[in-house]
């Protein structure tokens, strides 16, 4: 794989873990907060000129579930920060990827997939996972035509440390079928989106 990667996340610990794992593989890494990706995109452009791998982790801090009263303000804010933040990150770094390996990687903790039942104990989680899933699908439909490849990995919140190496391996390796969008988990199971 190429030599330059960017990690965009809202969660510092995950960013640090990914940073170290990528550095151990001799990959130059830039890290960005999902709330301000364009700042790092400009800096990356000045310093390195282009990137090969973009890893986005739109961690969702969901409002506490409450079936009797929906917190619309929190839902709106989280949608803006996490869901739209993922798209802002892709939009910001896309111009830097044209000459590179063109790999877009997304970290999800979604239980939800298009074929399985949603986790319905959290309204925000169910809705945001679906909105992100749709955004991944449209990005895939659009950018695959230009040679971009996609990796989605479901990171188990209970076993983040153990799963990161497996996830990075997946992000940096070829896939037998680049023309189907799938979510892979730490056991290697894949589900089409």
């Amino acid at each position: 794989m190429g030599a330059v990667a960017v990690v965009v996340t809202a969660e510092t610990q995950v960013g640090i873990t990914l940073f170290h794992e990528l550095r151990q593989r001799n990959i130059d890494v830039f890290c960005s907060d999902i709330r301000a990706p364009s700042v790092v995109a400009e800096a990356t452009w000045d310093e390195d000129g282009g990137i090969d791998v973009l890893i986005v982790h739109p961690k969702l801090s969901m409002p506490a579930p409450d079936s009797t009263k929906i917190d619309f303000t929190s839902l709106r804010q989280t949608y803006d920060t996490s869901v739209l933040g993922m798209l802002r990150s892709v939009e910001a770094f896309l111009p830097l990827m044209q000459e590179g390996q063109k790999r877009l990687c997304f970290v999800t903790d979604a239980v939800w997939t298009s074929g399985n039942r949603a986790s319905t104990n959290n309204l925000g989680g169910a809705m945001f996972d679906a909105a992100l899933g749709m955004a991944y699908k449209i990005l895939f439909n659009d950018l695959r035509r230009d040679g971009y490849t996609f990796r989605l990995f479901r990171l188990d919140v209970e076993t983040v440390e153990n799963d990161v190496r497996t996830m990075i391996d997946y992000f940096l390796s070829p896939h037998t079928n680049e023309d189907t969008l799938v979510i892979r988990d730490s056991y290697g199971k894949e589900i089409a989106l």
Binding site: S67, S114, G115, A126, A130, A131, M134
Partner: protein
């Protein structure tokens, strides 16, 4: 007389639904957002004892609260709520490399997704004594991730995908209390979703309203939520 609350009745499918339900003898509380459109007022004049127009901006907590107050001035019982109001604006129809209007995307989520949930939450107490307790949602094939082949339209598609999962949450939460649900994809209609009437579309809203009426009233799919289209076909999530 059975009673229904319908959002977005100024034109398009909402107006057709209000018309059809009134013709079938229902009492209709018809949400209105566009006072410059007179069609709904004309319809209300035809059915003065059945149709009550209710000013309603589903993106506003205060407006929804006021709408509930208006309904309570007439009745404490609703049998059905139809979440029809939605928007599909132009700025979000671009591919990502041509620039995305994030303010517009947030607005689509606020109206198309949260708006339906806001109305449902506010009107839920009025459904408690109904034997129907029916919550209907107008969604779209655009919210089906499995079938999506689009390369743009992020805001609208994401708002409908989120709505579908929000309705699934409501179904799992409220079904044990007796609420029943309908999630309906009405097809490509000659409506004003983008501001002007789409003459290229396939279906007349009046025809779809007839089909929707039957689907909303016919007992089916009560314990497993599905999204069905105007032809009765089930759509994947």
């Amino acid at each position: 007389m059975a009673t229904v609350f319908i959002t977005g009745c100024d034109r398009g499918l909402g107006l057709s639904l209000a018309t059809h339900f009134a013709k079938q003898g229902w009492r209709v509380f018809a949400g209105t957002y566009l006072p410059e459109w007179s069609d709904l007022d004309q319809l209300a004049a035809q059915y003065p004892s059945q149709i009550v127009t209710v000013p309603l901006d589903i993106a506003s907590d205060a407006s929804v609260r006021d709408a509930v107050t208006t309904v309570r001035e007439h009745t404490n019982l609703l049998d059905m709520v139809i979440n029809n109001a939605a928007i599909a604006s132009g700025p979000n129809d671009k591919e990502i490399r041509k620039g995305i209007d994030y303010g517009d995307m947030l607005r689509l989520f606020e109206v198309n997704t949260l708006g339906a949930l806001r109305v449902t939450q506010a009107l839920l107490p009025l459904l408690e004594d109904s034997s129907w307790k029916r919550l209907c949602f107008i969604s779209s094939e655009a919210g089906s991730i499995a079938r999506s082949q689009r390369v743009e339209w992020y805001g609208y598609c994401m708002s409908k995908a989120a709505l579908n999962q929000g309705v699934r949450y409501l179904h799992d939460t409220l079904r044990p209390a007796g609420c029943t649900f309908r999630l309906f994809h009405p097809g490509w209609m000659r409506t004003y979703m983008s501001g002007v009437r789409n003459e290229r579309a396939e279906l007349e809203p009046d025809d779809v309203a007839n089909i929707a009426y039957d689907y909303f009233l016919t007992p089916q799919d009560e314990d497993c939520l599905v999204m069905r289209d105007w032809q009765g076909k089930e759509w994947p999530w």
